[in-house]
């Protein structure tokens, strides 16, 4: 089916069917935040164990479509073990990938080289062509981002 491969890359289907870091963490101590997509009813809950320096563990739970779940799964992989600053960098990169970053925050992604550096995350780039699904792709990220703000406030 023409057009479909742009959206549903193999990586996405794989992470949809076998989401990584799926589950919950005991909260507290884990930080926890829920996100809704009011347009479709999708829900995601993100759990983070912050050890004072880095994201020691992260889990995701909830209901969602292939884009929303695979994006959440890919996110957990890309931020696990990262420092606050590094995690924010990943978010920025992800938003740039979907052309969502504010101008001054955009990370240039121009070459295939750049995309390779992103690793599996790059699979989500096809979502750009399907604007309605962008909200699906960003749900987990926005929910996670609020947890980072919370950590920030306690440091």
């Amino acid at each position: 089916m023409q057009g479909l491969e742009d959206l549903y890359r193999e990586i996405i289907l794989d992470h949809y069917k076998n989401p990584r870091n799926s589950g919950t963490l005991e909260s507290p101590p884990a930080l926890k935040n829920e996100g809704y997509n009011p347009l479709c009813g999708d829900e995601v809950t993100i759990y983070v164990n912050w050890d004072g320096d880095k994201i020691a563990d992260i889990k995701m739970a909830g209901q969602g479509c292939s884009i929303s779940r695979s994006s959440a799964s890919l996110m957990t992989i890309s931020v696990k073990g990262k420092s606050l600053e590094e995690a924010r960098g990943v978010i920025k990169t992800f938003k740039s990938l979907l052309s969502l970053a504010d101008d001054h925050e955009t990370v240039e992604i121009q070459t295939n080289e750049d995309l390779r550096a992103l690793g599996e995350l790059a699979a989500l780039q096809g979502v750009v062509k399907f604007p309605v699904r962008i909200k699906c792709a960003t749900l987990a990220w926005n929910t996670f981002s609020q947890i980072l703000d919370e950590i920030d406030a306690t440091i």
């Binding site: 089916m1 023409q2 057009g3 479909l4 959206l7 549903y8 289907l13 347009l39 479709c40 009813g41 999708d42 829900e43 209901q63 969602g64 479509c65 292939s66 884009i67 929303s68 399907f130 699904r133 699906c136």
Partner: protein, 421 residues
């Protein structure tokens, strides 16, 4: 609310959806794939006659209504008021010139009701009864009123097929001051036993409100027989334009209700610190109304009348039967269909889900086949929660849909299932 005959198939209908499609310009657009529009439950398409009525109004006679002495303004007012009578007659209103109030959509009509009844009629502790399958438009206004006034909400339950459970109706309705429910569910397709409930509600002295948003587009409605005191519906689901909704009420109820929005046209007099409301229906129509939209809705009613609402109801039944059969035949246990199993108990739409494919993904893949269905919570989150899902896919039908559309849906669904298996 006459009885509806069983319809064996689409061939016996009094009109041919393929011919009907020609009246709707959106189906004649050049596209990669033909448009299979199965989202009329969210908003229907419009025939050329509706677009022409609005265009002609703007090109030849636009002026603000009710205020001008000059001929142009008079002609605008005449067209506006003629549409009111037409729409009133369409639902059998005994006093169409006074009982039909124009709003911007069903949502405003229902908010008008909740807000107005909240000023004088309802007080802390009073009971308002809804169902658990209401659209947010007939649910959130009452939640808001509960938080402002302290009224109590109670709910009529339904069974696993989405049929309202009437066993302890007396207990639920006893002491209710308002009973407000849908005539047809926009998710489950359930046609509710509205008149029966209204009768019991009236025996307890309640005001009975009907959300007819999904009913009026598909079935003949006669408010004299319905048993509701107030009824809301919306233009864009019944072949009319966006931006116009309707509130019908019987004279006694409407007269007892204070105004909702304040402004021009709804007053008889204004002083610096007080005002006197205008007579019905103007009391509830503040500001410049959706003039062109009301005229467009009048043309939509002409179109529906021309086909005949009973014939339209027959088509609704027929396509519901065919669609249920074909979907069940093809997908068997791998699909979950919500709502009544018997097509005779439902109208307008079929909500469903596959185990391994999220509704969003279904809708996306269907779109690539030119098939438009809705995926989401359908503005009925409490119902979704009860069904244990975040979203369903929903195919909904109108007079321009035929068996080919059902076949296209089934084929595309099979493709989606294959893709994600």
């Amino acid at each position: 609310m006459g009885t509806l005959p069983e319809m064996p198939n689409l061939n016996e209908l009094s009109f041919d959806p393929k011919v009907i499609k020609k009246d709707f310009p959106i189906f004649s657009q050049n596209r990669d794939k033909p448009l299979v529009f199965l989202d009329s439950g969210a908003s229907s398409q419009r025939p050329t006659s509706v677009l022409d009525a609005m265009d002609d109004y703007y090109r030849t006679t636009h002026a603000n209504v009710h205020r001008g002495v000059y001929a142009l303004a008079e002609e605008a007012t005449n067209r506006y008021e003629a549409a009111r009578l037409k729409i009133g007659n369409f639902i059998g209103a005994p006093n169409p010139s006074k009982e039909i109030v124009f709003s911007k959509n069903s949502t405003e009509s229902l908010n008008l009701i909740a807000n107005s009844l909240g000023h004088g009629y309802l007080h802390a502790g009073d009971k308002v009864v809804l169902t658990k399958m209401e659209h947010h438009a007939n649910h959130v206004p009452w939640i808001m009123l509960a938080s402002y006034l302290g009224i109590k909400l109670e709910f009529i339950d339904h069974d696993e097929q989405g049929r309202l459970i009437l066993d302890n109706l007396d207990q639920t309705l006893d002491g209710a001051k308002v009973v407000s429910l849908t005539l047809a569910s926009n998710v489950l397709g359930t046609i509710t036993p509205f008149s029966q409930i209204a009768q019991v509600a009236h025996s307890y002295g309640a005001i009975v409100v009907g959300d007819a948003s999904q009913y009026v587009p598909h079935m003949p409605l006669n408010v004299k027989e319905l048993g509701a005191d107030l009824v809301a519906f919306t233009g864009h689901k019944m072949l009319g334009p966006t931006g116009v909704g309707v509130l019908w009420g019987n004279l006694k109820t409407l007269e007892s209700m204070p105004p909702f929005l304040g402004g021009g046209d709804m007053i008889a007099d204004v002083r610096l610190e007080s005002y006197t409301p205008n007579e019905l229906p103007y009391k509830f129509e503040a500001g410049t109304p959706p003039i062109a939209e009301v005229i467009g809705l009048g043309a939509a009613v002409d179109y529906l009348n021309n086909l005949g609402m009973q014939n339209i109801a027959n088509h609704d039944r027929a396509i519901m039967k065919i669609a249920l059969e074909k979907i069940n035949d093809r997908f068997g246990d791998t699909i979950k269909i919500y709502g009544p199993k018997d097509y005779k108990e439902r109208s307008g739409c079929i909500s469903f889900s596959f185990e391994n494919v999220h509704p969003h993904d279904i809708s996306q893949i269907l779109d690539l086949h030119g098939v438009c269905v809705r995926a989401g919570h359908h503005c009925a989150k409490p119902l979704m929660r009860e069904l244990g899902v975040a979203a369903t896919a929903r195919a909904s039908f109108h007079i321009y849909n035929d068996e080919d559309d059902v076949d296209a849906l089934v084929e595309a669904l099979a493709e989606a299932q294959r893709y994600f298996s």
